[in-house]
């Protein structure tokens, strides 16, 4: 299923010397400065950092939704110039079409990519059943809770069978309990659908829970200040959070974030 023929496994997603500079009315803002990283196929890589460190901008550049000022983003060995069919994106806001039902929303990318809806309908239904929305196929977004809407958005990102999932703080608008549920759901989903994931978050615990590797970003200009591998085996259960290793890693990451501020400010909430 996975074709690894062309690519060295270690560089399925690659960022090399990416910079982003905005010109605003007040002058030039350096949002990202020489960002380089790579991600192996099948890995879950998190970009962790406080608000305004440019992590979402970086993700949009990797998605081909925003141009980099300098440097190169590449996916599966090809330079990213525009959005790709082998990538699924989940945004912070579920961005569902309010007039469409759950199922029609999930099939939206299929229509836009001019693929045959009938070929993907069963898959869309199966995905929705997998995330517990089997009874909500004909509901419209305003009839769903925030967590349900984001689950619809995840199904929508997976429906065209992309190899890569780019997620931009997908759970940051949800309450803490729902968020934990969504983390468990995502872990579970990824066991059955192997994807390479790039995940943006400002929650240290979320990053540790989900990732294989974490890139800690600092702000002004946005840059990578630390890289931490996450050694925990999968599948991961919520009880993992109570282990000493988990707590120690969270502490180390919080230190790295605080350090990036020169120790003047407390890190983002865990």
């Amino acid at each position: 299923m996975l074709d690894m023929a062309a690519e060295p496994a270690g560089r399925f997603i690659e960022a090399s010397q990416i910079a982003k500079i905005y010109e605003t009315g007040g002058g030039v803002v350096e949002a990202l400065s020489s960002i380089s990283f790579d991600c192996a196929q099948g890995d879950f890589l998190s970009l962790l950092g406080p608000s305004g460190c440019g992590k979402s901008t970086l993700l949009m550049i990797m998605a081909g939704l925003e141009p980099a000022t300098d440097g190169r983003a590449s996916v599966a060995g090809e330079v990213v110039m525009s959005p790709r069919a082998d990538v699924g994106v989940v945004f912070q806001d579920p961005t569902l079409l309010p007039w469409r039902t759950t199922l029609e929303n999930v099939l939206f990318p299929i229509e836009m990519m001019r693929l045959r809806r009938s070929l993907y309908r069963d898959r869309a239904v199966a995905l929705l059943e997998e995330v517990g929305l089997g009874k909500f196929l004909t509901k419209r977004p305003h009839e769903l809770s925030g967590g349900m809407r984001q689950r619809v958005a995840i199904c929508r990102a997976l429906v065209h069978e992309p190899k890569i999932l780019l997620m931009d703080e997908p759970f940051s608008a949800l309450d803490a309990i729902t968020r934990d549920q969504m983390n468990a759901l995502l872990l579970d989903l990824l066991i059955r659908h192997a994807k390479t994931v790039l995940f943006v978050t400002h929650s240290i615990r979320e990053a540790v829970m989900l990732s294989d590797r974490i890139l800690v970003m600092g702000g002004r200009p946005g840059r990578i200040v630390a890289t931490e591998p996450v050694p925990f085996a999968r599948p991961r259960a919520p009880e993992l959070e109570d282990t000493a290793e988990f707590v120690a890693l969270v502490a180390r990451l919080r230190n790295a974030i605080e350090h990036s501020y020169g120790g003047h400010r407390a890190g983002g909430g865990a």
Partner: protein, 278 residues
């Protein structure tokens, strides 16, 4: 209810009071009955004034006289209501088609947006009714001039509201479309048009009343047929009860057309309004 055993005394007490449903019925009845009562009261005052002050019916007939006149000449009234209603409807439909096409052009053509749109907004401000006699000069005494004038004054709300609707799309949705590699015609059909529908319908509500005004003014001037013609002709004969009867029927026709558009709007809003999305 199965929860009955869990109810606290307070909840039980609340349920014994006049129910919330009852209160809602009263509230809804007030919404309908209060304006009707007010209107009825005004008619009573009108009738009383006419009787007490002995105003001649030529100047101001009472509502009962108008009602009697309506009963007497209703075949004529209905006959004249037909061309007015049909021409208003046609004018409105032309305005809708033309307005939507122009709005799409504005949405997709930068030159139109930059050069034409400010002028359209400017034309909105001028008193367009002042141009009515010129339309008769340009288009003759037939239905063409009434339709042209009707379209002229009723097309602008459609253009402006459709353009607003097509361009004020949630930017997140547009980004999603880009991520899905959608082509612009797909974005137009699947995102812009549905997002614009509530806007288009609020423009239509303004437009339908203007379309009727346009036709009636056209009838005033061309004086061939229609309720506008009947009003002018009977006023000229000092037949005030007939003129007022025609006005009443005109109100009825206007309400009917407005009601149809409002009904369609509520159906569309139920599904396409952005308010329901989050």
């Amino acid at each position: 209810m199965t929860t009955a055993s869990l109810q606290t005394p307070k909840v039980a007490a609340m349920q014994k009071r006049p129910s919330a449903r009852h209160q809602m019925l009263v509230r809804q009845a007030r919404i309908v009955l209060m304006p009707l009562a007010c209107a009825f009261l005004m008619l009573v005052f009108w009738e009383a004034y006419v009787r007490i002050s002995h105003v001649p019916a030529v100047i101001l007939p009472g509502p009962l006289v108008v009602l009697a006149t309506m009963a007497e000449i209703y075949p004529t009234l209905l006959l004249q209501a037909v061309p007015t209603t049909i021409e208003s409807t046609i004018g409105f439909l032309i305005s809708c088609s033309l307005g939507i096409v122009l709005a799409v052009l504005l949405c997709y053509s930068r030159i139109w947006r930059e050069a034409v749109y400010p002028n359209l907004v400017l034309i909105q401000i001028i008193p367009k009714i002042a141009l009515a006699p010129l339309f008769i000069l340009w288009f003759g005494l037939g239905a063409e001039s009434r339709l042209a004038f009707s379209v002229f004054i009723s097309v602008f709300p459609i253009i402006v509201s459709t353009y607003e609707g097509l361009t004020n799309v949630d930017p997140n949705l547009l980004r999603l479309c880009r991520a899905c590699q959608a082509q612009e015609w797909q974005v137009f059909l699947s995102v812009r048009v549905p997002s614009a529908l509530p806007f288009i319908f609020s423009g239509m509500k303004v437009s339908i009343t203007l379309a009727i005004i346009g036709v009636v003014i056209g009838e005033f001037i061309t004086a061939q047929a229609g309720l506008g013609y009947l009003i002018v002709a009977s006023s000229a004969r000092s037949d005030t009860p007939v003129a007022l009867a025609a006005v009443v029927v005109l109100c009825g026709a206007g309400l009917l057309l407005y009601g149809i558009v409002t009904g369609l709007q509520s159906i569309v809003n139920e599904r396409y309004s952005r308010g329901g999305s989050r």
